[in-house]
Symmetry: C2
Subunit: 178 residues, 2 copies
Protein backbone atom coordinates (compact mmCIF):
# COMPACT_ATOMS: atom_id res chain seq x y z
CA UNK A 1 0.00 0.00 0.00
CA UNK A 2 1.28 3.49 -0.78
CA UNK A 3 2.00 6.36 1.58
CA UNK A 4 -1.33 8.17 1.82
CA UNK A 5 -3.64 10.09 4.13
CA UNK A 6 -4.82 7.94 7.03
CA UNK A 7 -7.71 7.90 9.46
CA UNK A 8 -6.73 8.85 13.02
CA UNK A 9 -7.49 5.47 14.58
CA UNK A 10 -5.61 3.60 11.86
CA UNK A 11 -2.67 5.92 12.48
CA UNK A 12 -2.71 5.28 16.23
CA UNK A 13 -2.54 1.54 15.62
CA UNK A 14 0.20 1.96 13.05
CA UNK A 15 2.19 4.15 15.47
CA UNK A 16 1.97 1.42 18.14
CA UNK A 17 2.95 -0.58 20.14
CA UNK A 18 3.26 1.84 23.02
CA UNK A 19 4.32 1.05 26.60
CA UNK A 20 1.31 0.45 28.83
CA UNK A 21 1.48 1.75 32.41
CA UNK A 22 -0.82 1.97 35.43
CA UNK A 23 -1.35 5.27 37.26
CA UNK A 24 -2.50 4.94 40.87
CA UNK A 25 -4.44 7.87 42.34
CA UNK A 26 -6.63 8.43 45.41
CA UNK A 27 -10.10 9.96 45.44
CA UNK A 28 -11.36 12.61 47.86
CA UNK A 29 -11.91 9.87 50.48
CA UNK A 30 -8.34 8.58 50.00
CA UNK A 31 -9.57 5.42 48.32
CA UNK A 32 -7.00 4.21 45.79
CA UNK A 33 -7.87 3.84 42.11
CA UNK A 34 -5.92 2.59 39.08
CA UNK A 35 -6.07 3.67 35.43
CA UNK A 36 -4.37 1.92 32.49
CA UNK A 37 -2.55 4.41 30.27
CA UNK A 38 -1.07 4.15 26.82
CA UNK A 39 -0.60 7.92 26.55
CA UNK A 40 2.26 9.12 28.75
CA UNK A 41 5.89 10.15 28.40
CA UNK A 42 8.97 11.09 30.35
CA UNK A 43 9.11 14.88 29.99
CA UNK A 44 12.23 16.24 31.71
CA UNK A 45 15.63 15.07 32.82
CA UNK A 46 16.48 17.55 35.63
CA UNK A 47 14.36 17.49 37.66
CA UNK A 48 12.88 14.12 36.61
CA UNK A 49 9.45 14.78 35.13
CA UNK A 50 6.76 12.85 33.30
CA UNK A 51 3.40 13.60 31.71
CA UNK A 52 0.22 11.53 31.51
CA UNK A 53 -2.87 12.18 29.40
CA UNK A 54 -6.18 11.31 31.09
CA UNK A 55 -9.66 11.54 29.55
CA UNK A 56 -11.74 14.24 31.21
CA UNK A 57 -14.63 11.83 31.72
CA UNK A 58 -12.49 9.27 33.54
CA UNK A 59 -12.80 8.70 37.28
CA UNK A 60 -9.01 9.09 37.64
CA UNK A 61 -9.37 12.62 36.24
CA UNK A 62 -11.62 13.47 39.17
CA UNK A 63 -9.14 11.85 41.57
CA UNK A 64 -6.24 13.89 40.14
CA UNK A 65 -8.24 17.08 40.57
CA UNK A 66 -8.98 16.14 44.22
CA UNK A 67 -5.37 15.08 44.98
CA UNK A 68 -2.81 16.01 42.30
CA UNK A 69 -0.48 13.07 42.85
CA UNK A 70 -0.09 9.66 41.22
CA UNK A 71 2.23 6.67 41.16
CA UNK A 72 3.14 5.53 37.67
CA UNK A 73 3.66 1.76 37.85
CA UNK A 74 5.08 -0.39 35.05
CA UNK A 75 3.32 -3.73 35.36
CA UNK A 76 5.59 -6.75 35.19
CA UNK A 77 4.90 -9.30 32.45
CA UNK A 78 3.19 -11.66 34.86
CA UNK A 79 0.77 -8.87 35.87
CA UNK A 80 -0.53 -8.35 32.36
CA UNK A 81 -4.00 -9.80 32.88
CA UNK A 82 -4.65 -7.72 36.00
CA UNK A 83 -3.13 -4.64 34.34
CA UNK A 84 -5.41 -5.05 31.34
CA UNK A 85 -8.45 -5.36 33.64
CA UNK A 86 -7.54 -1.98 35.19
CA UNK A 87 -7.66 -0.35 31.76
CA UNK A 88 -11.10 -1.74 30.93
CA UNK A 89 -13.15 -0.93 34.03
CA UNK A 90 -14.05 2.30 35.81
CA UNK A 91 -13.11 3.12 39.39
CA UNK A 92 -16.63 4.53 39.80
CA UNK A 93 -18.01 0.98 39.86
CA UNK A 94 -15.02 -1.18 40.74
CA UNK A 95 -12.45 -1.47 43.50
CA UNK A 96 -9.68 -2.20 41.06
CA UNK A 97 -7.02 -3.16 43.62
CA UNK A 98 -9.33 -5.80 45.08
CA UNK A 99 -10.73 -7.07 41.78
CA UNK A 100 -7.36 -7.15 40.00
CA UNK A 101 -5.77 -8.90 42.98
CA UNK A 102 -3.13 -6.21 43.39
CA UNK A 103 -1.51 -5.55 46.77
CA UNK A 104 -0.56 -2.06 47.94
CA UNK A 105 2.84 -0.83 49.09
CA UNK A 106 3.00 2.46 50.97
CA UNK A 107 4.67 5.15 48.87
CA UNK A 108 7.57 7.13 50.32
CA UNK A 109 6.23 10.64 49.65
CA UNK A 110 2.83 10.73 47.92
CA UNK A 111 -0.57 9.54 49.16
CA UNK A 112 -1.43 6.99 46.42
CA UNK A 113 0.09 3.54 47.00
CA UNK A 114 2.48 1.54 44.81
CA UNK A 115 1.29 -1.66 43.12
CA UNK A 116 3.33 -4.48 44.67
CA UNK A 117 5.24 -6.55 42.11
CA UNK A 118 5.52 -3.87 39.43
CA UNK A 119 8.91 -3.47 37.75
CA UNK A 120 9.27 0.32 38.18
CA UNK A 121 7.26 2.89 40.15
CA UNK A 122 7.51 6.68 39.84
CA UNK A 123 5.97 8.72 42.68
CA UNK A 124 4.68 11.88 40.99
CA UNK A 125 3.36 15.31 41.99
CA UNK A 126 1.42 17.27 39.36
CA UNK A 127 3.07 20.62 38.56
CA UNK A 128 0.83 21.90 35.75
CA UNK A 129 -1.91 20.82 33.37
CA UNK A 130 -2.83 21.54 29.74
CA UNK A 131 -6.21 21.16 28.10
CA UNK A 132 -5.90 18.57 25.31
CA UNK A 133 -9.46 18.57 23.94
CA UNK A 134 -11.24 15.60 25.50
CA UNK A 135 -8.15 14.82 27.62
CA UNK A 136 -6.00 16.73 30.12
CA UNK A 137 -2.22 16.46 30.02
CA UNK A 138 -0.80 16.36 33.56
CA UNK A 139 2.87 17.31 33.85
CA UNK A 140 4.40 16.01 37.08
CA UNK A 141 7.68 15.95 38.95
CA UNK A 142 8.94 12.47 39.83
CA UNK A 143 9.74 12.76 43.55
CA UNK A 144 10.74 9.15 44.31
CA UNK A 145 11.67 6.16 42.14
CA UNK A 146 11.53 2.47 42.97
CA UNK A 147 12.06 -0.66 40.94
CA UNK A 148 13.49 -4.13 40.56
CA UNK A 149 16.41 -4.25 38.14
CA UNK A 150 15.81 -7.93 37.44
CA UNK A 151 12.34 -7.30 36.01
CA UNK A 152 12.87 -6.16 32.46
CA UNK A 153 9.54 -7.30 31.05
CA UNK A 154 6.91 -4.78 30.07
CA UNK A 155 3.51 -4.63 28.47
CA UNK A 156 2.78 -2.74 25.27
CA UNK A 157 -0.54 -1.89 23.64
CA UNK A 158 -1.73 -1.41 20.12
CA UNK A 159 -4.59 1.07 20.20
CA UNK A 160 -5.92 -0.46 23.47
CA UNK A 161 -7.10 -3.39 21.36
CA UNK A 162 -4.19 -5.76 21.56
CA UNK A 163 -1.25 -6.19 23.83
CA UNK A 164 2.18 -7.71 23.67
CA UNK A 165 4.71 -8.56 26.29
CA UNK A 166 8.47 -8.29 26.34
CA UNK A 167 10.25 -10.71 28.57
CA UNK A 168 13.79 -11.90 28.94
CA UNK A 169 13.80 -12.77 25.25
CA UNK A 170 13.97 -9.05 24.43
CA UNK A 171 16.26 -8.61 21.46
CA UNK A 172 18.32 -5.45 21.60
CA UNK A 173 20.74 -4.16 19.01
CA UNK A 174 23.83 -2.24 20.09
CA UNK A 175 24.28 1.34 18.98
CA UNK A 176 24.61 1.61 15.24
CA UNK A 177 27.92 3.00 13.96
CA UNK A 178 28.06 6.79 13.71
CA UNK B 1 17.30 -8.12 43.04
CA UNK B 2 14.62 -6.73 45.32
CA UNK B 3 12.23 -3.85 44.72
CA UNK B 4 14.16 -0.81 45.96
CA UNK B 5 14.85 2.85 45.34
CA UNK B 6 16.47 3.44 41.97
CA UNK B 7 18.63 6.09 40.34
CA UNK B 8 16.78 8.11 37.68
CA UNK B 9 18.87 6.95 34.75
CA UNK B 10 18.58 3.30 35.77
CA UNK B 11 14.83 3.81 36.01
CA UNK B 12 14.61 5.32 32.53
CA UNK B 13 16.39 2.30 31.08
CA UNK B 14 14.22 -0.08 33.06
CA UNK B 15 11.08 1.72 31.86
CA UNK B 16 12.20 1.31 28.24
CA UNK B 17 12.04 0.47 25.36
CA UNK B 18 10.14 3.50 24.14
CA UNK B 19 9.11 4.27 20.55
CA UNK B 20 11.65 6.50 18.82
CA UNK B 21 10.33 9.17 16.45
CA UNK B 22 11.72 12.02 14.39
CA UNK B 23 10.28 15.53 14.63
CA UNK B 24 10.89 17.75 11.59
CA UNK B 25 10.90 21.53 12.16
CA UNK B 26 12.03 24.58 10.19
CA UNK B 27 14.25 27.37 11.49
CA UNK B 28 13.67 31.11 11.01
CA UNK B 29 15.08 30.81 7.45
CA UNK B 30 12.73 27.90 6.65
CA UNK B 31 15.60 25.40 6.62
CA UNK B 32 14.36 21.99 7.73
CA UNK B 33 15.86 20.27 10.77
CA UNK B 34 15.24 16.86 12.39
CA UNK B 35 15.38 15.79 16.04
CA UNK B 36 15.24 12.22 17.34
CA UNK B 37 12.79 11.91 20.24
CA UNK B 38 12.17 9.21 22.79
CA UNK B 39 9.95 11.47 24.90
CA UNK B 40 6.58 12.04 23.25
CA UNK B 41 3.00 10.80 23.52
CA UNK B 42 -0.39 10.95 21.92
CA UNK B 43 -2.32 13.35 24.16
CA UNK B 44 -5.92 13.67 22.96
CA UNK B 45 -8.44 11.75 20.91
CA UNK B 46 -10.81 14.50 19.70
CA UNK B 47 -9.26 16.58 18.27
CA UNK B 48 -6.18 14.40 17.63
CA UNK B 49 -3.34 15.77 19.73
CA UNK B 50 0.19 14.80 20.68
CA UNK B 51 2.95 16.16 22.91
CA UNK B 52 6.72 16.18 22.49
CA UNK B 53 9.36 17.05 25.07
CA UNK B 54 12.38 18.94 23.69
CA UNK B 55 15.49 20.00 25.61
CA UNK B 56 15.69 23.78 25.93
CA UNK B 57 19.29 23.79 24.68
CA UNK B 58 18.44 21.89 21.50
CA UNK B 59 18.40 23.58 18.10
CA UNK B 60 14.92 22.18 17.44
CA UNK B 61 13.71 24.08 20.49
CA UNK B 62 14.77 27.34 18.81
CA UNK B 63 13.07 26.21 15.57
CA UNK B 64 9.81 25.46 17.41
CA UNK B 65 9.88 28.91 19.00
CA UNK B 66 10.42 30.51 15.55
CA UNK B 67 7.76 28.39 13.81
CA UNK B 68 5.50 26.39 16.18
CA UNK B 69 4.86 23.47 13.84
CA UNK B 70 6.43 20.05 13.39
CA UNK B 71 5.93 16.79 11.54
CA UNK B 72 6.23 13.72 13.75
CA UNK B 73 7.63 10.93 11.56
CA UNK B 74 7.87 7.28 12.58
CA UNK B 75 10.99 5.96 10.87
CA UNK B 76 10.57 2.65 9.08
CA UNK B 77 12.81 -0.23 10.17
CA UNK B 78 15.07 0.24 7.17
CA UNK B 79 15.63 3.89 8.14
CA UNK B 80 17.01 3.07 11.57
CA UNK B 81 20.63 4.04 10.89
CA UNK B 82 19.69 7.43 9.44
CA UNK B 83 17.13 7.98 12.21
CA UNK B 84 19.73 7.25 14.85
CA UNK B 85 22.13 9.73 13.22
CA UNK B 86 19.47 12.45 13.53
CA UNK B 87 19.28 11.87 17.26
CA UNK B 88 23.04 12.14 17.78
CA UNK B 89 23.95 15.34 15.87
CA UNK B 90 22.87 18.96 16.20
CA UNK B 91 21.11 20.93 13.45
CA UNK B 92 23.36 23.85 14.37
CA UNK B 93 26.28 22.08 12.68
CA UNK B 94 24.65 19.56 10.39
CA UNK B 95 22.16 19.53 7.51
CA UNK B 96 20.51 16.39 8.79
CA UNK B 97 18.32 15.73 5.74
CA UNK B 98 21.39 15.78 3.47
CA UNK B 99 23.70 13.86 5.80
CA UNK B 100 21.14 11.24 6.77
CA UNK B 101 20.18 10.79 3.12
CA UNK B 102 16.52 11.56 3.77
CA UNK B 103 14.31 13.00 1.03
CA UNK B 104 11.59 15.57 1.71
CA UNK B 105 7.90 15.35 0.87
CA UNK B 106 5.87 18.55 0.98
CA UNK B 107 3.43 18.52 3.89
CA UNK B 108 -0.25 19.23 3.26
CA UNK B 109 -0.73 22.00 5.85
CA UNK B 110 2.40 22.83 7.86
CA UNK B 111 5.73 24.31 6.70
CA UNK B 112 8.13 21.54 7.84
CA UNK B 113 8.43 18.68 5.32
CA UNK B 114 7.69 14.97 5.77
CA UNK B 115 10.54 12.43 5.71
CA UNK B 116 9.95 10.26 2.64
CA UNK B 117 9.72 6.56 3.43
CA UNK B 118 8.56 6.89 7.03
CA UNK B 119 5.71 4.64 8.13
CA UNK B 120 3.47 7.33 9.69
CA UNK B 121 3.64 11.15 9.67
CA UNK B 122 1.59 13.51 11.87
CA UNK B 123 1.50 17.16 10.77
CA UNK B 124 1.28 19.14 14.02
CA UNK B 125 0.59 22.70 15.15
CA UNK B 126 1.68 23.66 18.67
CA UNK B 127 -1.26 24.78 20.84
CA UNK B 128 0.47 25.32 24.19
CA UNK B 129 3.70 24.68 26.06
CA UNK B 130 4.67 23.74 29.62
CA UNK B 131 8.01 24.29 31.30
CA UNK B 132 9.45 20.88 32.27
CA UNK B 133 12.69 21.91 33.95
CA UNK B 134 15.45 21.53 31.36
CA UNK B 135 12.86 20.57 28.73
CA UNK B 136 9.70 22.14 27.28
CA UNK B 137 6.62 20.04 26.67
CA UNK B 138 4.91 21.11 23.41
CA UNK B 139 1.25 20.12 23.12
CA UNK B 140 0.09 20.14 19.49
CA UNK B 141 -2.97 19.44 17.40
CA UNK B 142 -2.48 16.86 14.66
CA UNK B 143 -3.87 18.58 11.56
CA UNK B 144 -3.06 15.96 8.90
CA UNK B 145 -2.06 12.30 9.03
CA UNK B 146 -0.24 10.21 6.44
CA UNK B 147 1.14 6.70 6.43
CA UNK B 148 1.68 3.39 4.73
CA UNK B 149 -0.39 0.61 6.26
CA UNK B 150 2.05 -2.02 5.03
CA UNK B 151 4.92 -0.62 7.10
CA UNK B 152 4.44 -1.92 10.60
CA UNK B 153 8.06 -1.83 11.69
CA UNK B 154 9.23 0.72 14.22
CA UNK B 155 12.32 1.66 16.15
CA UNK B 156 12.50 1.70 19.95
CA UNK B 157 15.16 3.08 22.25
CA UNK B 158 16.47 2.18 25.65
CA UNK B 159 17.69 5.39 27.29
CA UNK B 160 19.09 6.66 23.95
CA UNK B 161 21.86 4.08 24.38
CA UNK B 162 20.52 1.10 22.54
CA UNK B 163 17.87 0.53 19.96
CA UNK B 164 15.69 -2.29 18.80
CA UNK B 165 13.56 -2.80 15.77
CA UNK B 166 10.20 -4.42 15.30
CA UNK B 167 9.53 -5.84 11.90
CA UNK B 168 7.00 -8.18 10.44
CA UNK B 169 7.98 -10.74 13.08
CA UNK B 170 6.15 -8.66 15.70
CA UNK B 171 4.41 -11.04 18.08
CA UNK B 172 1.08 -9.76 19.30
CA UNK B 173 -1.22 -11.40 21.79
CA UNK B 174 -4.97 -11.07 21.41
CA UNK B 175 -6.96 -9.34 24.11
CA UNK B 176 -6.78 -11.22 27.36
CA UNK B 177 -10.09 -12.56 28.66
CA UNK B 178 -12.05 -10.11 30.82
Amino acid sequence: MAFQELQWYDAIKLASPFPYVLAVTVDENNKANIIGLGWWTIAGWDPPMCAISVGQARYSHKCLMANPEFVLCFPASEQSKAAWFCGKKSGRDHDKFAEAGFEKLKAKIVKPPIIKGCSVAFECRVKSTMDAGDHTLFLAEIVAIHGDKDKIGHIYTIGYEKMLRFGNDLKVEPNLPE
